[in-house]
């Protein structure tokens, strides 16, 4: 696996080099029937470029640009101008890229264009706009992430573990210490240094004229002609055994779980198609077809859903389909187990569960790991393979239902060294065999070494830690109502799951107040 990582790193650096050679790259998607024009400016510069001590600077920079004014117009004046046109624009920042997206009704494209141009070429960086951005960013990394969605929180905590000590560790919006250290001058300098004509990819879709595009290309050539020093993306750490971090907080109704380990391949690799089939079978996002969903939710109703991932999935709680604009060259596999019940709640709800010490987290984790182990050992059947492939060949096309999505996926394709990811994956899926998939599963998946994060109630954290450390049996605690009707095969499987061995090597409780501290290498 280590060699594979090195090879991927080398490939990434070649891609970077190739990107810089083809200075102005434009992805075009002309759609004369569309009623809008979509423009995307993708800068190859994400939160991995945040300087030490200023985690969150790239995000603050992009947000200040998009929220602010230009050399001759205040943010307010811009808002007034675009108001009747209902223009949409935003900046999305991820680990490796920043994407500015503008969507304008076709008849207003010409009128709006000078504002787009000036926002990018001569942003005002007004002090008020910046302070506002920083305050909100600070609020997000300090409070909102810890107290809004325990699922998103456990996902961020997993990344914090996986990438500890690397430039991938901190959240895109930064850390408390990092954001407080950001000053307006940092933002200005960062923009100049990292948003250049040489790390920009232009994308345009919809109903635009050749002259419009020419002007855009010409203007974007006036961005600085320097070559930004983009650091190599940090790689995910390989844990020794299963390492669990329990985030303990007050008043949590459930245990929100994420687990993952490094994955050597990305959309760049042809093997990705094989893993896509395996992953869809195990845990397609927000679908009831996956094995994890079937066993954890449908059969046992332990939570709202359970899914697996072979790449970063932006805002899984909100998005039913993957969004473009978040390409990453450092990859990992993950499983998302939505909040399961804690002992305190179960005891209150059902008298018969009065004696339990922990809720359902350990059982759910065991079930997921066992399911994956079985898939690794036995592979997919030919029948399951055929159906899953058929599904994906149609489903992947739903990723690109709008001009904005089509353009975004095309631009991401280039990031991965592909021309058109959706159609190329379709071609790869077409020639795939069940043997290819089962080989890929064995090659890339394992369950002995994983990171696990569990955001849970403070009453659950201690007992759960002990149970995991000691690999205690975790019989599923059903209410009597459900227990009486359980089919015999479920009861039998439950017994196996309850004592299924997990290679747990370390369990640590972190108080919610102390998560996301600055990078320290090691676990």
């Amino acid at each position: 696996m280590k060699n594979k990582l090195v090879i991927t790193a080398l490939m990434t650096s070649f891609l970077l080099a190739a990107f810089f050679v083809n200075a102005q790259e434009v992805v075009e998607l002309k759609q004369p029937q569309s009623n809008k024009v979509v423009i995307k400016l993708m800068f190859r510069n994400g939160s991995i470029s945040d300087p030490a001590g200023k985690d969150g600077l790239t995000s603050a920079t992009a947000s200040t640009v998009i929220a602010g004014g230009t050399k001759d117009k205040t943010a307010k004046q811009i808002q007034e101008l675009i108001y009747p046109m209902a223009v949409n624009f935003d900046a999305s920042v991820d680990k490796e890229v920043v994407v500015f997206t503008f969507q304008v009704y076709k008849d207003f494209a010409e009128k709006f264009y000078p504002l787009l141009r000036d926002l990018i070429l001569s942003p005002a960086f007004a002090d008020d706009d910046f302070k506002n951005v920083r305050s909100n960013q600070q609020n997000y990394v300090e409070e909102v992430i810890r107290s809004s969605s325990d699922e998103e929180y456990s996902k961020m905590a997993l990344e914090d573990l996986l990438f500890r000590g690397t430039n991938y560790q901190h959240m895109v919006d930064g850390t408390t210490a990092g954001v407080s250290a950001i000053m307006l001058d940092d933002v200005k300098a960062h923009y100049k240094k990292y948003f250049t004509r040489n790390n920009l990819r232009i994308g345009i879709a919809g109903n635009y004229s050749a002259a419009f595009l020419d002007q855009l290309k010409k203007d974007m050539k006036t961005l600085p002609d320097t070559k930004p020093d983009i650091p190599m993306p940090g790689k995910a750490n390989s844990p020794d055994g299963i390492n669990v971090e329990i985030v303990s907080k007050e008043k949590a109704l459930g245990s929100a779980i994420f687990t993952g380990f490094p994955l050597a391949i990305t959309r760049t690799d042809d093997d990705f198609a094989a893993l896509m089939v395996a992953n869809s079978y195990l845990g397609e996002h927000r679908k009831s077809y996956g094995k994890l969903y079937d066993k954890i939710r449908t059969t046992r109703s332990m939570n709202y859903g359970d899914y697996s991932y072979i790449e970063w999935y932006e805002n899984g709680g909100g998005n039913m389909l993957p969004v473009p604009g978040v390409p990453r060259s450092s990859n990992y596999f993950s499983i998302w187990i939505r909040p399961v019940q804690v002992a305190e709640g179960l005891k209150k709800q059902y008298k018969e569960l009065d004696g339990i010490e922990t809720g359902h987290a350990q059982f759910a984790l065991r079930l997921a790991v066992r399911e994956m182990d079985e898939l690794i050992a036995n592979g997919m059947s030919k029948e399951d393979f055929e159906l899953t492939r058929q599904f994906l060949r149609s489903y992947n096309k739903l990723y690109i239902q709008t001009p904005e999505r089509q353009l975004g996926f095309l631009m991401d394709s280039r990031y991965y060294g592909r021309k058109d990811y959706i159609s190329e994956m379709d071609a790869l899926l077409a020639k795939l065999t069940v043997e290819d998939v089962n080989r890929a599963i064995k090659k890339y998946w394992q369950t002995k070494n994983m990171f696990v994060t569990i955001v849970t109630d403070d009453s659950e954290a201690g007992p759960l830690k002990t149970a995991l450390e000691q690999n205690k049996p975790s019989p599923m605690s059903y209410s009597n109502l459900v227990k009486v009707g359980l089919p015999a095969d479920v009861v039998k499987e439950d017994e196996k799951i309850a004592t299924y061995p997990l290679n747990v090597k370390s369990v640590k409780i972190v108080d919610s107040k102390n998560t996301f501290k600055p990078a320290v290498k090691g676990f």
Binding site: K76, S148, L253, R393, V482
Partner: protein, 451 residues
């Protein structure tokens, strides 16, 4: 400027001109023809063809949501029932249904709200007959075991559990419970937690629920995209034609007029303080001017170029964001405005400033250019969303559940043309009253401390 802008809307591309049919798209916000056919059993079938090669969306709108949960102890049931609809039939077990969806390669799901439950799938237009077949089967022949019913209740509790992590969600539950006394809008669509915990005991009631609401007269089928009305109507007749009309009609208690401001509060440290002002609002109507008037006012008031945003968010930096507006619902719900505060000590100030702006709206007419610009903003925002079969079907579904007639979409947007500055002042006077207000707060303190 206004009229020029609006006429441009008619040029919304996607070959709209070629599909004029029973209802012409002329002078309507939706640049596509809406073809409706009512089957003999009362089921309304709506087709909106447009260019989306190989792709179609099928939406099934059932006009039953948490609004219809009139019985004590049954809150959250419409949503729970939505879950049960995925538990299979004799012909297609849950597994078989999943296999069909997988083979279609569809993105399919469902969701429930106050006034409706919507089932939707988007996928290969060439498989439209199969979509009709499996949906027709489960809407008429749903069959699940008592054990499956009890088990599924756990998933609903799981959904409640994941939602409850958000203080906004907690506040919303309290807000409805306080702002409403009699009407079923008193509870959220998720239901009260005690009712959610009790759901496994309600198997018999679930059969009653299916019998009452999963009937053609409650339902509309909407198909958009690469389809013809002929094939849609043919499959609707084939797979839903035998569905029997029902006889149930719920009695939903009217909410008595509110007397005096009410208060709800969530104590939460480590979370941005928040204040929400929630007034009783109008019910949806596609011929009454109040709702578009309120929407214009809210859009203008909350826009980032507006005075309020500039003052509170940009200059004073006491607020992080301001949002709100009137809800679109069958019965009167709320017109809400919310402010995320930087400091809890500013909550009173923020409330006062927001109230000042609302008071001003009662007596100071909106500048004509601002009014025209806002109308333009609202209409172009809508037009920009008409990109895919799914988005279009989703928009149609909204107006279908509100009135039962998808043409309400066109009628409602046409109302915007008529709104005057006086209408807006009248609406402000009518709805922004202390008597009908519920103030909702989140802060580290044990009370909102806002008057």
């Amino acid at each position: 400027m206004k009229y020029r802008l609006f006429s441009l809307l008619l040029l919304l591309a996607l070959n709209s001109g070629s599909v004029a049919g029973q209802t012409s798209a002329k002078n309507k916000i939706l640049p596509f023809g809406i073809f409706q056919k009512k089957l003999a059993n009362g089921l309304n079938v709506v087709t909106v063809p447009f260019s989306s090669p190989g792709l179609a969306s099928l939406y099934i709108v059932v006009r039953a949501g948490s609004r219809e949960e009139v019985e004590e102890g049954k809150t959250g049931f419409a949503h729970f029932f939505e879950h049960m609809m995925f538990r299979g039939t004799e012909k297609y077990s849950k597994e078989a249904y999943d296999q069909v969806l997988k083979s279609i390669g569809a993105s399919a799901n469902a969701n429930t709200s106050f006034d409706r439950t919507v089932y939707h799938m988007t996928g290969n237009a060439g498989m439209i007959e199969k979509m009709f077949e499996v949906e027709g089967d489960r809407f008429q022949h749903l069959k699940y075991s008592e054990h499956d019913f009890k088990t599924e209740a756990g998933a609903v509790k799981g959904e409640y559990t994941k939602n409850s992590a958000s203080p906004y969600q907690q506040l919303y539950e309290k807000l409805l419970n306080t702002a409403f006394e009699k009407h079923t809008y008193k509870h959220t669509t998720m239901g009260f937690f005690k009712d959610v915990v009790d759901m496994p005991n309600q198997y018999d009631y679930s059969l009653v629920f299916f019998d009452r609401f999963y009937r053609p007269e409650y339902t509309t089928i909407i198909v958009t995209g690469d389809v013809t009305k002929e094939e849609v109507n043919k499959y609707a007749e084939k797979y839903f034609g035998g569905w029997k009309h029902g006889s149930y009609s719920p009695v939903i208690e009217k909410e008595p007029a509110q007397v005096g401001t009410r208060y709800v509060h969530i104590q939460q440290a480590g979370f941005p303080p928040y204040i929400g002002l929630n007034f009783k609002g109008p019910a949806f109507s596609d011929h009454n001017i109040d709702l578009p008037a309120l929407n214009i006012l809210a859009t203008l008031l909350l826009d980032q170029s507006g005075d309020l945003y500039q003052q509170l968010v940009i200059k004073e930096q006491k607020a992080r964001f301001i949002n709100g507006g009137p809800g679109l619902n069958r019965d009167p719900l709320l017109v809400s405005f919310g402010i995320s505060a930087v400091k809890a000590e500013d909550l009173q100030y923020l409330k006062d400033e927001l109230m000042k702006a609302l008071e001003k709206a009662k007596s100071v007419p909106i500048d004509p250019k601002k009014l025209a610009d806002t109308k333009s903003n609202i209409k172009y925002s809508f037009a920009m969303r008409l990109d895919s079969p799914d988005q279009i079907a989703n928009s149609m579904a909204l107006y279908t559940w509100l009135t039962g007639n998808p043409e309400s979409l066109n009628n409602y947007y046409a109302l915007y043309d008529k709104v005057t500055a006086a209408d807006i002042m009248n609406a402000a006077k009518k709805y922004f009253m202390a008597n009908s207000l519920t103030i909702a707060t989140i802060s580290p303190a044990d009370a909102g401390n806002v008057k």
